[in-house]
Amino acid sequence: MLDILGRVFGREEAPSKEIAKERLRLVLVHDRATVSPQFLELIKEEVIGVITNYMDIDEEGVEVSIHNMERSVALVANIPIRRMKRAVKAV
């Protein structure tokens, strides 16, 4: 019903503030992640710390970066595995 009313009154798209909020959300994820160069370094170090508990990785080759997609932003980690450790704990 609201939908029809909206169309009658010529409002087909979402109110522009919703668009503004969504765009801001995405741009701020990116800004906040890239403003400080140490930020991604810190994440990388901690990720390496966690992963090495489970597998042998090429620490030099680890890459952590922020990627912009169409409607989202992703943290992408590329972690080359050398060798898996044998599962210690039962899952």
Binding site: S16, K17, A20, R23, L24
Partner: protein, 266 residues
């Protein structure tokens, strides 16, 4: 010992100078002793907004470079007894004429004399910004409800946090209730949600700001101005009073007027 508060924003033109002039005047009206410091070196503005442009003899750089004593450079605003003073920015120098250490010393000296030292910060994140925040105990970040202004406010908040500013608060300026109502302007909650920061107040868009700037009389002196009322409320919050946010819409909505017309006014 007084408090130094920097009024800053990131994006230019969102209302820092207007805010500095109005909060300073409102605090002076509350019998606080206030000094306004124009830290926008090279683009001095606060003097004209205050209507004091014809009284400038010395400026901030004259003080920091030892050309005159601090007292000599302070312009007394005669409208407010001994309560309101302005330290104008230099117009001919550039922002590198002052260092953060000098600004810190200067605000320290002023805090010893005055209850509030309000520093009007230049736009941007360069040296002028670093100078303006150097001696501050609190920062008020001004934004408008637009994507670019909020984005720059986020950046500034990050920088203020990194520089260990003890207190950072947000002021949302130029909100337009009718646009918020139709969903075409972000509202207070949207912005607070995005920036995750304390709110010191909200100032509506108001033509009276332009009129009062033309006259060189801060809007807080106009009892009928909504923006003036908002600034007076913010000044009270600065002194620690609890003041609720005023409703965005004026009380006289359509139904109110109809009721009054028929004698049912509250």
């Amino acid at each position: 010992m007084g408090e130094a508060i920097v009024i800053t924003s990131g994006k230019g033109g969102v209302g820092k100078t207007t805010t500095t002039a109005n909060l300073g005047t409102a605090l002076a009206l509350m019998e606080r002793r206030v000094v306004l410091v124009d830290a926008d070196i090279g683009l001095r503005n606060l003097d004209v907004v205050m209507g004091l442009e014809n009284r400038i003899v010395y400026d901030l750089v004259d003080v920091t470079s030892g050309v005159c004593r601090l007292k000599q450079a302070l312009i007394k605003d005669k409208r407010f007894n001994e309560n309101l003073f302005l330290l104008p920015a230099a117009q001919t120098k550039d922002k590198t004429a002052v260092t953060p250490e000098q600004m810190k010393a200067l605000t320290g000296e002023l805090k010893a004399e005055y209850d509030y030292v309000l520093v009007d910060c230049p736009a941007g994140i360069e040296q002028g910004f670093r100078n303006a925040i150097a001696g501050a105990d609190r920062a008020i970040v001004v934004t408008t409800p637009e994507v670019s202004a909020v984005r720059d406010a986020d950046r500034i908040i990050g920088l203020l946090e990194a520089s260990e500013m003890p207190e950072v608060q947000l002021l949302i300026n130029r909100i337009r209730p009718s646009m918020v109502k139709r969903g075409d302007m972000m509202d207070i909650d949207d912005i607070i949600d995005i920036l995750a920061i304390d709110l010191i107040g909200v100032v509506p868009e108001d033509d009276k700001i332009v009129v009062s700037t033309n006259r060189g009389e801060p809007t807080v002196l106009d009892a009928n101005s909504r923006a003036g009322q908002a600034f007076r409320n913010i000044a009270r919050r600065i002194t620690g009073e609890q003041v609720p946010l005023m409703p965005l819409e004026a009380e006289h909505g359509f139904m109110e007027r109809v009721k009054q017309l028929f004698g049912f006014g509250r």
